[in-house]
Symmetry: C2
């Protein structure tokens, strides 16, 4: 423990913002700080505890991966009542794909919190997803399943998981909407502007107008995502009028 | 729901013992009975809900498998501090191996609760493990993670998971003990007798004597298991004297 305390202290001195930034991401104050320090310690730091066990985020990934799988399994079970075991497994693997986890880690800018002896530019792309998994593992071990489940809902399921998209019924709401506008001879316009506001991360806002009337607005971390979000909102507003392609 | 109620009623009439037996296994009274009925309905029954979705245990296996993986991941993380991600993954796959899950299902005689149009003698061996997973899934959905975790500890981890054995440090406590007895010129005797008592399932008891003195007793569902359990108990009693083979 004394070793962990040393690392903790050196961390606070070097990076007073670590726990402040972390609290922003978590939405609560960590109980067991050492777990989160571990979740953001790269193996290149070569730190060991008093028993000689390595302190880095890799073992936490194992726990985080399992918790993501469990929470998403239960979610899909409820949301996709017609899907059999194999279908649910396939859907889950889309949600927790390497690519998607990397996006989630990037979105939270987790790499900004990591402590490493290797320059950050040398990391591969997978570090983002690995840190995200490790963080989920730390949350579970620190605060239990309910908290961890809530974090996964807030950060993964609510903003990113759309059953229709997962089922491959809708590839892109934007293309669906444009197709419909063209068919119906409606004019459309996506007005995009930077809208970072008080966020650290760059954000974009979109106003979607159909026939010169704003029908929906959205905000996200990329132009593409904001447009897709606005299109989806418009889609649900007009869905009785838009023929669904299944 | 009315359909589920019908199945529920027909089930109670045909097999009044279903919920009684279930309560014995669970150690609590189920809240959502329909989940457990689902967990013990084979696809051959060909039952569908009002939306046309199949009612059988297969989808619940997906949830149960995920919960087993999560609970055991967290357990191994704490218990095996020196193991890296890959090592922990390997250990978990031993605990939740098809073979082990089948044993767990058999131990609880879950097949005795299943409703099917196929004669039970025609089922393959995997049905035991599948039912066990489905039951774990039903417990999670009915009572939440904490309850499910407790069930997994009581039925899987406490009676069956031994870190030393999993790590391959000890293959069999019986062979270890016999080896030691022979080396030390101690006599030993495993006295085995049937001891089913009030259980439905056949049980065996073992008295292990070393130098004509009873040193440990154990009871299990097979002779082999009871002997191994008694050996393990003796092993821990004598462990200072027994040289450990790593």
């Amino acid at each position: 423990m004394s070793l962990i305390r040393n690392i903790l202290n050196s961390r606070s001195n070097e990076d007073g913002n670590f726990f402040l930034n972390l609290k922003e991401i978590l939405g609560y104050k960590p109980k067991s700080k050492s777990l989160y320090i571990k979740a953001f310690t790269h193996r290149s730091m070569n730190i060991k505890d008093n028993d000689g066990n390595a302190i880095n985020y890799e073992r936490l990934e194992f726990v985080g991966d399992a918790m993501l799988s469990a929470v998403i399994a239960a979610y899909l079970f409820e949301q996709v009542p017609h899907g059999d075991e194999g279908y649910l497994t396939k859907m889950r693997s889309k949600v927790v794909s390497r690519e998607h986890l990397n996006e989630l880690g990037k979105e939270l800018n987790l790499i900004g919190l990591v402590k490493s002896k290797i320059p950050k530019s040398n990391f591969g792309n997978n570090i983002h997803g690995n840190l995200f998994e490790a963080l989920v593992g730390a949350i579970y071990l620190d605060k239990g399943y309910k908290f961890c489940e809530r974090f996964i809902y807030e950060r993964v399921i609510n903003p990113h998981v759309d059953i229709e998209t997962l089922e491959g019924k809708v590839i892109s709401y934007k293309s669906l909407l444009i197709e419909w506008c063209q068919k119906e001879k409606n004019t459309f316009d996506y007005e995009v502007y930077e809208d970072t506001g008080r966020d650290e991360l760059k954000h974009f806002s979109v106003k979607l107008s159909i026939n010169n009337k704003v029908v929906s607005k959205a905000r996200a971390t990329s132009k593409k995502k904001a447009e897709e979000k606005a299109s989806k909102r418009a889609f649900f507003a007009f869905q009785k009028q838009i023929a669904r392609r299944t």
